[in-house]
Amino acid sequence: MASNVHDLIIMGTGPGGYTAAIYTGRANITPLVIEGFQPGGQLMITTEIENFPGFPEGIRGPELMARMREQAAKFGAQFVGGSVTDVDLSKRPFLLTLEDGRELLTHTLIVATGANAKWLGLESEDRYRGKGVSACATCDGFFFRDNKVFVVGGGDTAMEEAIFLTKFASEVVLVHRREEFRASKIMSLRTKKNPKISMMLNEVVDEILGDGQKVTGIRLKNVVTGEFSEHTCDGVFLAIGHSPNAGLFKDQLELDEQGYIKTKKHSTETNVQGVFACGDVQDTGYRQAVTAVGTGCMAAVDAERFLESIRG
């Protein structure tokens, strides 16, 4: 029986999960890494990463993640494809059920399940998803050659998507619900300077319009004047932030009001001993690849210490 119990399972393969795997692998813990729904995480759908230290020339997201994976494998991390569909953290060892029904037991667990793009929650958005509505410009921009598209959002992701889309679209309109952008100065400036991008501020999306087959326009509401306006367009790209992938832990780990896993200050410990969280699933403030790497390392060290303590 004991031989079937893993010392450590890591859920997730973004920068946090891979870093935890590199550190624990190097410490001879042999982590089992469950790759999850989107192996490689959110960086798999980005283009160039310009701010990851050590890559002055920039590096493509998928390439960075492939390298992290290779580094984790080099130190003995083992990978399992697919997702976890159920967890039981109420008894020890912890029990995880995979989508194919397989059950895994582990003494410690690192949750690095990340976050995913948020949707507006409109029925029309759902109806036209894949028919003009998208949350991934790098995936879908190609299909909007010489088209007019709207990008919704005010953070760095929205700026990146808008700039990326100018490679294909004839016109990009950036819609933001506030007057000010949350994006970094450098990204805001680049966006403002781009001749193909125009901005509509203090506007929220009221409805995505279509002909039943595809998107044909968008209806906006001005939050200052309350006025509605309709605009023709071929695509609507959403970049309105992310929500943490912590639904699986709802009744088992302490989450905050927004659904992020709560961790103790200066640590990755959750309210269940032996369960640690790192990366975007617990990061309410920074959500960078580099901070995920940082907390991934912390989770590895915390898990290692915990394993030592239970072994006595």
Binding site: T46, E99, C139, D140, G235
Partner: protein, 109 residues
């Protein structure tokens, strides 16, 4: 078990997909699409597992824009299931393998 998938093109689409007497799964993809690259190995596994029972195809949208436009593809990866020349089901994004299997099996019957 990884198998040989059909490389669907604008030229062979009618003969190999629409006129096929088997259920055909077509993965619309491109090299610059991260989620497509993640889904690729799953499609190749399916090609092996469904050999003789269904046709598993990949269509590169860069090289075959006409077929992608014909089916209104505006997001990839998109998986379309064809039966007797008609689209009978479709999936958007990098789906887990078991969901693709369920949808394929439902059409194969």
């Amino acid at each position: 078990m990884s198998g040989k998938y059909l490389a669907a093109t604008d030229q062979n689409f009618k003969a190999e997909v629409l006129d096929s007497d088997k259920v055909v799964l077509v993965d619309f993809w491109a090299t610059w699409c991260g989620p497509c690259m993640m889904l690729g190995p799953v499609i190749e596994e399916l090609a092996g597992e469904y050999e003789g029972r269904a046709v598993i195809a990949k269509l590169n949208v860069d090289e075959n824009p006409a077929s992608a436009a014909q089916y209104g593809i505006r997001s990839i990866p998109s998986l379309l299931i064809f039966k007797n020349g008609q689209v009978v089901d479709q999936m958007l994004g990098a789906m887990p393998k078991n969901m693709i299997v369920q949808k394929l099996d439902a059409q194969i019957g």
